[in-house]
């Protein structure tokens, strides 16, 4: 009977789930995949006629070699961390919020609008808390919409949150080209500069600003919230076994909406901190995709808030280092993203390898 041929007739490789990946294996694989990424990137660089050692060296020194580099890295860490935390908390509940980018934009829009038009004359100690709240509300609203659609109509939050990204980004385009455009900017798209009271204080002479502090506080608060509070416990149960949550009488729908709002609010805070901490105006291309990179941050951090701090920092270093080699070595523009892509590819691949394993299937 030919049913025997159902059994694989020859040796081949196959991927299967590892029952429980151990911590040490995870660490080893992460380190190994990083080394492999450098090797692989190095080979490509070499083939392109560059000196890999020199390039890696200047990437490293650009990102972490001196205080300037570290400061720049911290500047980039801020939005990655805030948005990454937002994504992580939603993913914990198996809510696949991929709308952090749009939520970030909406936070920026709300903060800008409030600072420019609602309370332009307020002193800093009034202004900053209010624009913080405004950005939380803006981002939160943008997270709440897909949350509510999911909770009451069962609409997939993946689709809705993604779609809302375009809405938010295009809305911001409209504002900076249209009604909010700075008349003095000679047609350059962007709002007028925020009142100085809305500028987040910097750390010394660097561009590092209060937003980083918000990010660290948020990570700590989230960590405690998820581990130690009833609400965090409910989020965990709903993520692991929604039916058990129902059985225990947990308010599932409300929590979906609230978690999505919280997730969006954190991304909104990232948007505010970019506007009030860096650009001091709402401009085009406010985010080079922080909201999407946030998904990688959350995933590599295994949805752990403190892990997100580390991962956001590393990812930021990668970006800064990449920018650095482009500027200082005059390399083709494609080299830096290529290296960043390679490293991410290997890190994510290594991550998959700790959760799955490849085995050889012997023939019968």
């Amino acid at each position: 009977m030919s049913s025997r041929s159902a059994i694989s007739p020859s040796r081949r490789l196959r991927i299967e789930r590892v029952p429980s990946p151990s911590r040490s294996a995870t660490a080893v694989v992460s380190a190994l995949s990083f080394v492999l990424a450098l090797l692989c990137g190095g080979i490509i660089l070499f083939l392109a006629g560059e000196n890999p050692i020199q390039i890696y060296g200047s990437m490293f020194s650009g990102a972490l070699g001196d205080w300037n580099g570290v400061a720049e890295t911290l500047v980039k860490t801020t939005p990655l961390l805030l948005a990454g935390l937002g994504v992580a908390v939603a993913f914990r509940m198996q809510l696949w919020n991929i709308g952090a980018e749009g939520q970030l934009y909406l936070g920026a829009i709300f903060a800008t609008g409030v600072a420019l038009f609602l309370i332009p004359g307020a002193p800093g100690w009034v202004m900053v808390p209010i624009i913080v709240v405004a950005s939380l509300l803006g981002g939160g609203l943008w997270g709440l919409i897909p949350g509510a659609l999911r909770a009451w109509f069962g609409a997939s939050e993946i689709i809705t949150s993604l779609m809302l990204n375009y809405v938010a980004i295009l809305f911001s385009e409209y504002l900076v080209h249209g009604p909010w455009r700075d008349p003095q900017a000679f047609g350059f798209p962007g709002t007028p500069s925020l009142p100085a009271s809305a500028w987040l204080p910097n750390w010394g002479a660097t561009r590092v600003h209060l937003g980083l502090f918000f990010g660290l506080i948020a990570a700590l608060v989230l960590w405690v919230m998820l581990r130690r509070t009833r609400w965090g416990y409910e989020i965990g149960v709903m993520g692991e076994n929604p039916r058990a949550a129902l059985y225990a009488g947990m308010p599932t729908k409300r929590t979906i909406v609230l978690v999505m709002a919280l997730s969006g609010a954190l991304a909104g805070l990232a948007g505010m901190s970019e506007v009030a901490g860096i650009g001091h105006q709402l401009q085009r291309n406010l985010s080079p995709g922080y909201g999407y990179a946030a998904i990688i941050v959350a995933w590599l951090a295994r949805l752990h808030p403190l892990g997100a701090v580390l991962v956001a920092f590393l990812l930021a270093a990668l970006t800064v280092g990449g920018d650095q080699i482009q500027m200082s070595l005059g390399l083709p523009a494609a080299i830096a993203p290529m290296l960043q892509g390679t490293i991410l590819f290997f890190l994510l691949g290594g991550d998959v390898l700790t959760r799955y394993r490849i085995t050889r299937v012997p023939g019968t």
């Binding site: 041929s5 159902a6 009833r230 149960v237 009488g249």
Partner: protein, 554 residues
């Protein structure tokens, strides 16, 4: 013994690959010419050890199963039965030891390796895709290059196998249309199709109705008679004594005995399992009338209750019930006659389409599960891992699922970690849950120990009403008795208990009154003491005159 025979046509050599293993029934008269005189056992596991952290699940286990026999594996909860068989099925790798299949060393590094060597395991939780047909589910598990999928051919083959082994499965049926027992037979069919000749069943009868269990046991015997090697795990010693050719007893990871039904009995087996004499467990739970408790007011009042089942069809059609304080009301019935829906509506997990539900006089029809739980309702659900527990969380997080929102387990918005720890430790100690500690993931507990933790948690809050569905499913003889005692204690304390079980002995032993459900209606009701099992059986089959019953409305 008559059915232990050499597997004449069961060679695993490559030359036999395109012949179905059991086309020829092995005949006791004509020994095959090409087979060695002493046949190799189907399975020989030697010196198998497996540790999980500090837990030794299997300790140098030697286990053999022959072709043509049903080999039962028994032992207490956590003794290591599932672990041993998971090693055979390629799910776990042993720390040390060897496995030989039909005399040849086997490297079993994954379930696919195992099935390639003819080993198939039927787990308690079936891995079937509900909206798909039987054929599609079978094909899903296949690793063929997809292009030449001939569903029609597979379907014919499956129909042939089903016919041949009397499984009664239509390959075109969709999984969601099938009962639990039928789904289990789909799993068997799938394994047969994949070429399994060694079939392992982990507590297959725990999820079956007594009727389904009977027919499964017959199927197992039939497979053995055709030369298959069947390994069968169960806590029901009667079944084991009836169906097995040999019985191996595991105790704390070690095989302590291998014996035959004719040479042993329940008492001896139970003693071997626990390592000491157990007074009560050995006897069939007698239907001795327990001391009556002063019964008070109705805690649960159900009136004219209607609800829909999983498939959107009416599952409850006008149920009337009362359960009073200090009373245990047993619900008898063949699975699928509304028991599950009754438990779920009473606990707020399923909505009521008509009728009403009151607890302690309070109207709770279609109120959220949280509100019903706050009214003091405990629920031991039918499928513990899907509903009542969280496999990926640790024991303490599972222990507080009921009480996390009330002091002392929380203070304000925070969980009180000290109280959580001591509460969990107490549950573990009181209910004899075998685990390295409260930080262990629930999934790593053996099935029976999961049930003990769940039960302990549900009974911890001094509930007013306990809805217990198959409370002793998957637990060993000793723990069964402990759970029965716990339920009696709750009743004596004044709790009202709605007990749903397919085990008539259990119902008779614990209940004050018995209500028989059939087709979503109350078929009859009677006091448990002096109830006639025969009459209950007839009512369960839908035979009986509802009108003539005294107090159909109970």
């Amino acid at each position: 013994m008559e059915h232990i025979r050499a597997p004449n046509s069961l060679e695993l050599g490559p030359g036999m690959k395109d012949r179905h293993p059991i086309t020829h029934h092995p005949s006791p008269i004509t020994p095959p010419s090409h087979h060695p005189v002493t046949p190799s056992p189907a399975v020989a596991m030697r010196g198998i050890s497996k540790r999980f952290g500090s837990v030794v699940a299997n300790d140098r286990v030697d286990f053999e199963a022959s072709w043509g026999e049903v080999h039962a594996l028994v032992g207490e909860n956590g003794a290591g039965k599932s672990t041993l068989m998971s090693i055979l099925a390629g799910l776990y790798r042993p720390d040390s030891g060897e496995v030989e299949i039909d005399g040849a060393p086997a490297r079993l590094r994954s379930p696919r390796d195992a099935i390639a060597r003819g080993i198939g395991m039927v787990y308690q939780h079936f891995m079937l895709v509900e909206p798909f047909t039987v054929t599609e589910n079978v094909v899903l598990g296949e690793q063929r290059s997809g292009v030449d999928l001939e569903l029609g051919r597979v379907e014919r083959e499956l129909a042939g196998l089903s016919e041949k082994y009397g499984l009664g499965i239509d390959p075109r049926a969709r999984i969601w249309q099938l009962s639990v027992g039928e789904q289990q037979r789909v799993e068997i069919l799938r394994l047969l199709y994949l070429g399994a000749r060694i079939l392992v069943f982990d507590e297959p009868t725990a999820v079956l109705t007594p009727q389904e269990a009977r027919s499964l046991l017959q199927t197992l015997r039939g497979m053995a008679a055709q030369g298959f090697s069947v390994v069968f795990i169960s806590h029901k010693l009667d079944e084991v004594l009836e169906v097995a050719d040999r019985i191996s007893v595991l105790r704390r990871g070690e095989i302590v005995a291998t014996t035959r039904p004719a040479e042993t009995d329940r008492r001896t087996l139970a003693r071997l399992m626990v390592g000491r004499e157990l007074a009560e467990v050995v006897e069939q739970p007698a239907s001795e009338p327990h001391e009556p408790v002063a019964q008070g007011d109705a805690v649960l009042e159900v009136r004219g209750l209607y609800a829909l089942g999983e498939k959107g069809l009416p599952a409850l059609r006008g149920i009337d019930l009362d359960v009073r304080t200090g009373e245990t009301l047993g619900i008898a019935g063949v699975a699928g006659n509304g028991q599950r829906e009754l438990a779920e509506t009473v606990t707020g997990l399923r909505s009521v389409t008509d009728g009403s539900l009151r607890i302690d006089g309070k109207e709770l029809t279609n109120r959220p599960a949280a509100e019903i739980a706050r009214a003091g309702v405990a629920h031991i659900p039918e499928d513990r891992l899907a509903t009542g527990l969280i496999g990926g969380m640790d024991l303490s997080e599972n222990a507080i699922l009921r009480g996390y929102a009330r002091p002392p387990l929380c203070s304000g918005p925070f969980l009180a970690s000290k109280a959580v720890a001591s509460f969990t430790d107490r549950l573990i100690a009181d209910h004899d849950v075998k685990t390295p500690g409260r930080w262990a993931k629930l999934r790593t507990l053996s099935g029976g120990n999961q049930q003990k933790l769940l039960l302990g948690r549900e009974l911890a809050g001094e509930p007013r009403l306990i809805v217990a569905v198959h409370p002793t499913r998957g637990v060993d003889v000793g723990a069964t008795e402990a759970i029965h005692q716990a339920l009696r204690d709750q009743r004596a304390r004044g709790a009202a208990i709605l007990l749903i079980s397919e085990d008539l002995d259990e119902l008779l032993a614990l209940s004050d009154r018995i209500v028989v459900l059939f087709d979503g209606r109350v078929m009859g009701a009677m006091p448990a003491s002096g109830a006639d099992p025969e009459e209950i059986g007839l009512l369960m089959a839908g035979i009986g005159n509802r009108e003539s019953e005294v107090g159909t409305r109970v």
